[in-house]
Protein backbone atom coordinates (compact mmCIF):
# COMPACT_ATOMS: atom_id res chain seq x y z
CA UNK A 1 0.00 0.00 0.00
CA UNK A 2 1.50 3.31 -0.96
CA UNK A 3 0.93 6.56 0.86
CA UNK A 4 -1.55 7.87 -1.72
CA UNK A 5 -3.83 4.97 -0.87
CA UNK A 6 -3.26 5.26 2.87
CA UNK A 7 -4.21 8.92 3.02
CA UNK A 8 -6.45 10.14 0.21
CA UNK A 9 -7.69 13.73 0.35
CA UNK A 10 -10.50 14.09 2.86
CA UNK A 11 -12.95 15.29 0.20
CA UNK A 12 -12.72 11.94 -1.56
CA UNK A 13 -13.73 10.09 1.59
CA UNK A 14 -16.52 12.62 2.11
CA UNK A 15 -17.89 11.78 -1.34
CA UNK A 16 -17.92 8.09 -0.49
CA UNK A 17 -19.70 8.79 2.79
CA UNK A 18 -22.42 10.78 1.04
CA UNK A 19 -23.04 7.94 -1.42
CA UNK A 20 -23.00 5.34 1.34
CA UNK A 21 -25.26 7.25 3.71
CA UNK A 22 -27.51 8.09 0.77
CA UNK A 23 -28.20 4.41 0.19
CA UNK A 24 -26.39 4.08 -3.13
CA UNK A 25 -26.10 0.40 -4.06
CA UNK A 26 -24.57 0.54 -7.53
CA UNK A 27 -21.68 2.73 -8.66
CA UNK A 28 -20.97 2.67 -12.40
CA UNK A 29 -17.70 4.16 -13.52
CA UNK A 30 -15.02 4.77 -16.06
CA UNK A 31 -11.96 5.21 -13.85
CA UNK A 32 -10.13 8.40 -13.12
CA UNK A 33 -7.40 9.15 -10.61
CA UNK A 34 -9.72 11.60 -8.88
CA UNK A 35 -12.29 8.84 -8.36
CA UNK A 36 -9.79 6.15 -7.38
CA UNK A 37 -10.46 6.29 -3.64
CA UNK A 38 -14.24 6.14 -4.02
CA UNK A 39 -13.96 3.25 -6.49
CA UNK A 40 -11.73 1.36 -4.06
CA UNK A 41 -14.15 1.95 -1.18
CA UNK A 42 -17.13 0.83 -3.29
CA UNK A 43 -15.46 -2.43 -4.25
CA UNK A 44 -14.60 -3.20 -0.64
CA UNK A 45 -18.14 -2.52 0.61
CA UNK A 46 -20.32 -5.66 0.64
CA UNK A 47 -23.50 -3.60 0.23
CA UNK A 48 -22.31 -1.77 -2.87
CA UNK A 49 -21.64 -2.95 -6.38
CA UNK A 50 -18.97 -1.37 -8.54
CA UNK A 51 -19.74 -1.62 -12.25
CA UNK A 52 -16.80 -0.86 -14.51
CA UNK A 53 -17.87 0.39 -17.94
CA UNK A 54 -16.28 0.32 -21.36
CA UNK A 55 -17.83 3.70 -22.21
CA UNK A 56 -19.69 6.28 -20.14
CA UNK A 57 -23.00 6.04 -21.99
CA UNK A 58 -23.43 2.52 -20.63
CA UNK A 59 -23.47 4.09 -17.20
CA UNK A 60 -26.29 6.46 -18.13
CA UNK A 61 -28.35 3.42 -19.10
CA UNK A 62 -27.42 1.17 -16.21
CA UNK A 63 -28.24 3.73 -13.50
CA UNK A 64 -31.72 3.98 -15.06
CA UNK A 65 -32.08 0.21 -14.86
CA UNK A 66 -31.09 0.31 -11.21
CA UNK A 67 -33.74 2.94 -10.49
CA UNK A 68 -36.38 0.87 -12.30
CA UNK A 69 -35.48 -1.91 -9.90
CA UNK A 70 -35.58 0.25 -6.79
CA UNK A 71 -31.89 0.98 -6.19
CA UNK A 72 -29.99 4.23 -6.21
CA UNK A 73 -27.03 4.25 -8.55
CA UNK A 74 -24.52 6.96 -9.48
CA UNK A 75 -22.07 7.41 -12.34
CA UNK A 76 -18.41 8.43 -12.05
CA UNK A 77 -16.42 9.62 -15.05
CA UNK A 78 -14.02 12.25 -16.27
CA UNK A 79 -14.95 15.17 -18.46
CA UNK A 80 -13.75 13.54 -21.66
CA UNK A 81 -16.50 10.96 -21.20
CA UNK A 82 -19.34 13.46 -21.23
CA UNK A 83 -19.39 13.61 -25.01
CA UNK A 84 -19.95 9.86 -25.13
CA UNK A 85 -23.17 10.24 -23.14
CA UNK A 86 -25.09 12.79 -25.17
CA UNK A 87 -27.75 10.74 -26.94
CA UNK A 88 -28.13 8.34 -24.01
CA UNK A 89 -29.11 11.31 -21.83
CA UNK A 90 -32.39 11.34 -23.76
CA UNK A 91 -33.29 8.31 -21.65
CA UNK A 92 -32.93 10.45 -18.52
CA UNK A 93 -34.93 13.35 -19.92
CA UNK A 94 -37.73 11.32 -21.52
CA UNK A 95 -38.38 9.18 -18.47
CA UNK A 96 -37.32 11.76 -15.89
CA UNK A 97 -35.03 9.34 -14.13
CA UNK A 98 -33.16 10.75 -11.16
CA UNK A 99 -29.58 11.09 -12.37
CA UNK A 100 -26.46 11.93 -10.40
CA UNK A 101 -22.94 11.90 -11.76
CA UNK A 102 -19.57 13.03 -10.45
CA UNK A 103 -17.22 14.26 -13.14
CA UNK A 104 -13.54 14.97 -12.67
CA UNK A 105 -12.38 17.77 -14.95
CA UNK A 106 -9.52 17.63 -17.38
CA UNK A 107 -8.26 20.22 -19.81
CA UNK A 108 -8.76 23.28 -17.64
CA UNK A 109 -5.91 23.71 -15.15
CA UNK A 110 -2.20 23.00 -15.69
CA UNK A 111 -3.19 20.53 -18.39
CA UNK A 112 -0.23 18.90 -20.11
CA UNK A 113 -2.25 16.97 -22.68
CA UNK A 114 -3.95 19.25 -25.22
CA UNK A 115 -6.19 16.40 -26.39
CA UNK A 116 -8.14 16.82 -23.15
CA UNK A 117 -8.92 20.47 -23.78
CA UNK A 118 -11.74 20.47 -26.37
CA UNK A 119 -14.05 18.20 -24.40
CA UNK A 120 -13.05 19.83 -21.13
CA UNK A 121 -14.11 23.22 -22.47
CA UNK A 122 -17.39 21.82 -23.82
CA UNK A 123 -18.32 19.69 -20.80
CA UNK A 124 -20.62 22.09 -19.00
CA UNK A 125 -22.27 23.40 -22.16
CA UNK A 126 -22.87 19.93 -23.56
CA UNK A 127 -24.54 18.76 -20.37
CA UNK A 128 -26.69 21.87 -20.13
CA UNK A 129 -27.78 21.50 -23.76
CA UNK A 130 -29.11 18.06 -22.78
CA UNK A 131 -31.03 19.46 -19.82
CA UNK A 132 -28.67 18.42 -17.05
CA UNK A 133 -28.05 20.74 -14.09
CA UNK A 134 -24.34 21.41 -13.59
CA UNK A 135 -22.78 22.20 -10.21
CA UNK A 136 -19.08 22.62 -9.55
CA UNK A 137 -16.71 22.24 -6.62
CA UNK A 138 -13.30 23.85 -6.91
CA UNK A 139 -11.98 23.85 -3.33
CA UNK A 140 -11.66 20.92 -0.97
CA UNK A 141 -13.94 22.47 1.63
CA UNK A 142 -16.81 22.96 -0.82
CA UNK A 143 -16.88 19.42 -2.19
CA UNK A 144 -19.06 17.76 0.45
CA UNK A 145 -21.69 20.47 0.51
CA UNK A 146 -21.94 20.64 -3.26
CA UNK A 147 -22.08 16.88 -3.69
CA UNK A 148 -24.73 16.56 -1.00
CA UNK A 149 -26.83 19.30 -2.62
CA UNK A 150 -26.64 17.65 -6.03
CA UNK A 151 -27.30 14.19 -4.62
CA UNK A 152 -30.44 15.35 -2.82
CA UNK A 153 -31.71 17.28 -5.86
CA UNK A 154 -31.39 14.06 -7.87
CA UNK A 155 -32.76 11.47 -5.47
CA UNK A 156 -35.19 13.60 -3.48
CA UNK A 157 -36.21 16.00 -6.24
CA UNK A 158 -35.91 13.72 -9.26
CA UNK A 159 -33.52 16.06 -11.06
CA UNK A 160 -30.63 15.22 -13.36
CA UNK A 161 -27.52 16.72 -11.79
CA UNK A 162 -23.77 16.45 -12.15
CA UNK A 163 -21.03 17.87 -9.97
CA UNK A 164 -17.87 18.87 -11.81
CA UNK A 165 -14.80 18.33 -9.64
CA UNK A 166 -12.28 20.95 -10.75
CA UNK A 167 -8.93 19.79 -12.01
CA UNK A 168 -7.25 22.01 -9.43
CA UNK A 169 -8.70 19.75 -6.71
CA UNK A 170 -6.95 16.74 -8.12
CA UNK A 171 -3.69 18.48 -8.84
CA UNK A 172 -1.09 18.09 -11.51
CA UNK A 173 -0.72 14.76 -13.19
CA UNK A 174 2.94 13.81 -13.16
CA UNK A 175 4.35 13.42 -16.65
CA UNK A 176 7.92 12.57 -17.42
CA UNK A 177 9.32 14.70 -20.16
CA UNK A 178 12.64 16.23 -21.02
CA UNK A 179 13.28 19.92 -21.45
Amino acid sequence: MNSAIASPPMWQEEIFSILKEGGVRQVAYVPDAGHAHVIRRVHSDPDMRGVVLTTEEEGVATVCGAWLGGQRSVLLMQSSGVGNCINMLSLIQNCRFPFFSLITMRGEWAEFNPWQAPMGKATQGALELMGVTVLRASKPDEVAETVRAGFDAAFEGGESVVVLLSQSLIGRKKWEHTK
Binding site: R25, Q26, A28, R49, V51, V52, L53, T54, T55, E57, E58, G59, V60, A61, T62, V63, C64, G65, A66, W67, L68, G69, G70, Q71, S73, N87, M88, S90, L91, N94, C95, R96, F97, P98, F155, E156, G157, G158
Partner: protein, 198 residues
Protein backbone atom coordinates in the same frame (compact mmCIF):
# COMPACT_ATOMS: atom_id res chain seq x y z
CA UNK B 1 -18.10 -19.76 -39.76
CA UNK B 2 -19.85 -16.99 -41.56
CA UNK B 3 -23.58 -17.32 -41.75
CA UNK B 4 -26.49 -15.28 -42.96
CA UNK B 5 -30.12 -15.23 -42.01
CA UNK B 6 -31.14 -16.17 -45.55
CA UNK B 7 -32.08 -19.62 -44.33
CA UNK B 8 -33.64 -18.50 -41.05
CA UNK B 9 -37.12 -19.84 -40.44
CA UNK B 10 -38.13 -18.32 -37.11
CA UNK B 11 -41.02 -15.85 -37.09
CA UNK B 12 -39.92 -13.13 -34.66
CA UNK B 13 -43.33 -12.28 -33.32
CA UNK B 14 -44.33 -15.89 -32.69
CA UNK B 15 -40.99 -16.55 -30.98
CA UNK B 16 -41.29 -13.56 -28.66
CA UNK B 17 -44.90 -14.37 -27.89
CA UNK B 18 -44.10 -17.95 -26.92
CA UNK B 19 -41.04 -16.92 -24.91
CA UNK B 20 -42.92 -14.35 -22.85
CA UNK B 21 -45.89 -16.67 -22.35
CA UNK B 22 -43.47 -19.16 -20.82
CA UNK B 23 -41.78 -16.51 -18.64
CA UNK B 24 -44.77 -14.71 -17.10
CA UNK B 25 -42.85 -13.46 -14.06
CA UNK B 26 -40.03 -11.83 -16.01
CA UNK B 27 -39.11 -8.18 -16.04
CA UNK B 28 -38.64 -7.21 -19.69
CA UNK B 29 -36.57 -4.44 -21.29
CA UNK B 30 -36.89 -3.94 -25.04
CA UNK B 31 -34.52 -2.34 -27.54
CA UNK B 32 -35.94 0.31 -29.85
CA UNK B 33 -37.69 -0.64 -33.07
CA UNK B 34 -39.10 -4.00 -34.01
CA UNK B 35 -38.17 -5.70 -30.73
CA UNK B 36 -40.39 -3.24 -28.86
CA UNK B 37 -43.22 -3.94 -31.31
CA UNK B 38 -42.80 -7.70 -30.89
CA UNK B 39 -43.01 -7.51 -27.10
CA UNK B 40 -45.97 -5.15 -27.16
CA UNK B 41 -47.77 -7.38 -29.68
CA UNK B 42 -47.29 -10.31 -27.29
CA UNK B 43 -49.35 -8.44 -24.69
CA UNK B 44 -48.75 -5.19 -22.85
CA UNK B 45 -47.95 -5.46 -19.13
CA UNK B 46 -46.47 -3.03 -16.61
CA UNK B 47 -43.37 -5.20 -16.24
CA UNK B 48 -42.40 -4.32 -19.83
CA UNK B 49 -40.15 -1.30 -20.25
CA UNK B 50 -40.01 -0.28 -23.89
CA UNK B 51 -37.17 1.84 -25.21
CA UNK B 52 -37.98 4.13 -28.12
CA UNK B 53 -34.47 5.54 -28.30
CA UNK B 54 -31.25 5.25 -26.28
CA UNK B 55 -29.90 2.96 -29.00
CA UNK B 56 -27.29 0.58 -27.64
CA UNK B 57 -28.60 0.93 -24.09
CA UNK B 58 -31.12 -1.88 -23.69
CA UNK B 59 -28.71 -4.53 -22.39
CA UNK B 60 -27.18 -2.22 -19.81
CA UNK B 61 -30.56 -1.00 -18.59
CA UNK B 62 -31.17 -4.70 -18.04
CA UNK B 63 -27.88 -5.00 -16.15
CA UNK B 64 -28.77 -2.29 -13.63
CA UNK B 65 -32.22 -3.79 -13.19
CA UNK B 66 -30.91 -7.34 -12.76
CA UNK B 67 -28.45 -6.24 -10.08
CA UNK B 68 -31.24 -4.39 -8.26
CA UNK B 69 -33.75 -7.26 -8.48
CA UNK B 70 -31.78 -10.49 -7.98
CA UNK B 71 -34.91 -12.50 -7.17
CA UNK B 72 -36.53 -11.74 -10.52
CA UNK B 73 -35.66 -12.93 -14.01
CA UNK B 74 -34.72 -10.00 -16.24
CA UNK B 75 -34.99 -10.45 -20.01
CA UNK B 76 -33.66 -7.94 -22.52
CA UNK B 77 -35.20 -8.41 -25.96
CA UNK B 78 -33.45 -6.44 -28.65
CA UNK B 79 -32.26 -6.58 -32.23
CA UNK B 80 -28.87 -7.04 -33.90
CA UNK B 81 -28.62 -3.37 -34.86
CA UNK B 82 -29.38 -2.12 -31.37
CA UNK B 83 -26.90 -4.53 -29.78
CA UNK B 84 -24.21 -3.70 -32.33
CA UNK B 85 -24.32 -0.09 -31.17
CA UNK B 86 -23.50 -1.24 -27.64
CA UNK B 87 -21.02 -4.08 -28.10
CA UNK B 88 -19.01 -2.81 -25.14
CA UNK B 89 -22.05 -3.48 -22.97
CA UNK B 90 -21.48 -7.19 -23.46
CA UNK B 91 -18.05 -6.76 -21.93
CA UNK B 92 -19.51 -4.79 -19.03
CA UNK B 93 -22.13 -7.50 -18.48
CA UNK B 94 -19.49 -10.21 -18.76
CA UNK B 95 -17.64 -8.55 -15.89
CA UNK B 96 -20.74 -8.64 -13.65
CA UNK B 97 -22.53 -11.86 -14.69
CA UNK B 98 -25.84 -11.45 -12.88
CA UNK B 99 -27.34 -14.94 -13.08
CA UNK B 100 -30.85 -13.54 -13.44
CA UNK B 101 -30.08 -11.62 -16.65
CA UNK B 102 -30.79 -12.95 -20.15
CA UNK B 103 -30.01 -10.95 -23.28
CA UNK B 104 -32.08 -12.17 -26.22
CA UNK B 105 -31.00 -10.72 -29.57
CA UNK B 106 -33.43 -11.17 -32.44
CA UNK B 107 -30.94 -11.28 -35.29
CA UNK B 108 -32.30 -10.76 -38.78
CA UNK B 109 -29.00 -9.41 -40.08
CA UNK B 110 -30.58 -6.12 -41.04
CA UNK B 111 -31.55 -2.68 -39.83
CA UNK B 112 -35.28 -3.27 -40.12
CA UNK B 113 -36.54 0.13 -39.04
CA UNK B 114 -34.59 2.11 -41.61
CA UNK B 115 -35.11 0.18 -44.83
CA UNK B 116 -33.60 -3.27 -44.27
CA UNK B 117 -30.00 -2.36 -44.93
CA UNK B 118 -27.71 -5.34 -44.15
CA UNK B 119 -26.15 -5.07 -40.70
CA UNK B 120 -22.75 -6.26 -39.55
CA UNK B 121 -24.20 -9.63 -38.58
CA UNK B 122 -24.82 -10.20 -42.31
CA UNK B 123 -21.29 -9.01 -43.02
CA UNK B 124 -19.15 -11.13 -40.74
CA UNK B 125 -19.88 -10.35 -37.08
CA UNK B 126 -21.15 -13.17 -34.89
CA UNK B 127 -22.82 -11.67 -31.85
CA UNK B 128 -22.74 -14.97 -29.98
CA UNK B 129 -18.99 -15.20 -30.56
CA UNK B 130 -18.60 -11.63 -29.30
CA UNK B 131 -20.66 -12.42 -26.21
CA UNK B 132 -18.58 -15.55 -25.58
CA UNK B 133 -15.43 -13.52 -25.95
CA UNK B 134 -16.77 -11.07 -23.37
CA UNK B 135 -17.00 -13.89 -20.84
CA UNK B 136 -20.78 -14.14 -20.57
CA UNK B 137 -21.38 -17.53 -18.96
CA UNK B 138 -24.09 -19.13 -21.05
CA UNK B 139 -24.26 -18.59 -24.81
CA UNK B 140 -27.03 -20.09 -26.90
CA UNK B 141 -27.66 -19.85 -30.62
CA UNK B 142 -31.18 -20.62 -31.75
CA UNK B 143 -32.33 -21.65 -35.24
CA UNK B 144 -35.49 -23.58 -34.44
CA UNK B 145 -38.74 -22.27 -33.06
CA UNK B 146 -39.01 -25.25 -30.73
CA UNK B 147 -35.91 -24.10 -28.84
CA UNK B 148 -38.03 -21.37 -27.30
CA UNK B 149 -39.09 -23.68 -24.48
CA UNK B 150 -35.53 -24.46 -23.43
CA UNK B 151 -34.66 -20.76 -23.55
CA UNK B 152 -37.65 -20.03 -21.30
CA UNK B 153 -36.35 -22.62 -18.83
CA UNK B 154 -32.97 -20.90 -18.79
CA UNK B 155 -34.62 -17.53 -18.16
CA UNK B 156 -36.81 -18.87 -15.37
CA UNK B 157 -34.03 -20.83 -13.66
CA UNK B 158 -31.86 -17.75 -12.98
CA UNK B 159 -28.72 -19.88 -12.85
CA UNK B 160 -26.49 -18.31 -15.44
CA UNK B 161 -26.03 -14.98 -17.15
CA UNK B 162 -27.22 -15.80 -20.67
CA UNK B 163 -26.82 -14.40 -24.15
CA UNK B 164 -29.15 -15.86 -26.77
CA UNK B 165 -28.73 -15.13 -30.46
CA UNK B 166 -31.98 -15.98 -32.22
CA UNK B 167 -31.81 -16.22 -35.99
CA UNK B 168 -35.08 -14.80 -37.27
CA UNK B 169 -36.49 -14.18 -40.72
CA UNK B 170 -35.98 -10.66 -42.05
CA UNK B 171 -39.71 -9.99 -42.24
CA UNK B 172 -41.23 -6.54 -42.24
CA UNK B 173 -44.27 -6.94 -40.03
CA UNK B 174 -46.96 -4.39 -39.26
CA UNK B 175 -45.84 -2.14 -36.41
CA UNK B 176 -47.48 -2.64 -33.03
CA UNK B 177 -46.79 0.56 -31.14
CA UNK B 178 -46.32 0.48 -27.37
CA UNK B 179 -46.81 3.57 -25.19
CA UNK B 180 -43.97 6.05 -25.71
CA UNK B 181 -44.45 8.23 -22.64
CA UNK B 182 -41.29 7.40 -20.72
CA UNK B 183 -42.47 8.74 -17.37
CA UNK B 184 -45.59 6.57 -17.57
CA UNK B 185 -43.56 3.49 -18.50
CA UNK B 186 -41.12 4.10 -15.66
CA UNK B 187 -43.72 4.70 -12.98
CA UNK B 188 -45.95 1.78 -13.86
CA UNK B 189 -42.93 -0.53 -14.00
CA UNK B 190 -41.85 0.55 -10.53
CA UNK B 191 -45.39 0.34 -9.22
CA UNK B 192 -45.57 -3.28 -10.41
CA UNK B 193 -42.54 -3.93 -8.18
CA UNK B 194 -44.18 -2.19 -5.24
CA UNK B 195 -41.96 0.87 -5.58
CA UNK B 196 -43.29 4.37 -5.05
CA UNK B 197 -42.44 7.38 -7.21
CA UNK B 198 -39.59 9.32 -5.63
Amino acid sequence: MRRTNAVATIDRRAFVSRLLAACPQSLVITGLGSSSYDVFAAGDRPENFYLWGAMGGAAVVGLGLALAQPERSVVVITGDGEQLMGLGALSTIGAQQPVNLSIVVLDNGHFGETGMQPSHTSLGTSLSAVARGCGIGNIVEIDEMDSVESLAQVVNSRQDCTFAQVHIRADELPRALPPRDGVYLKNRFRAALGLAPF
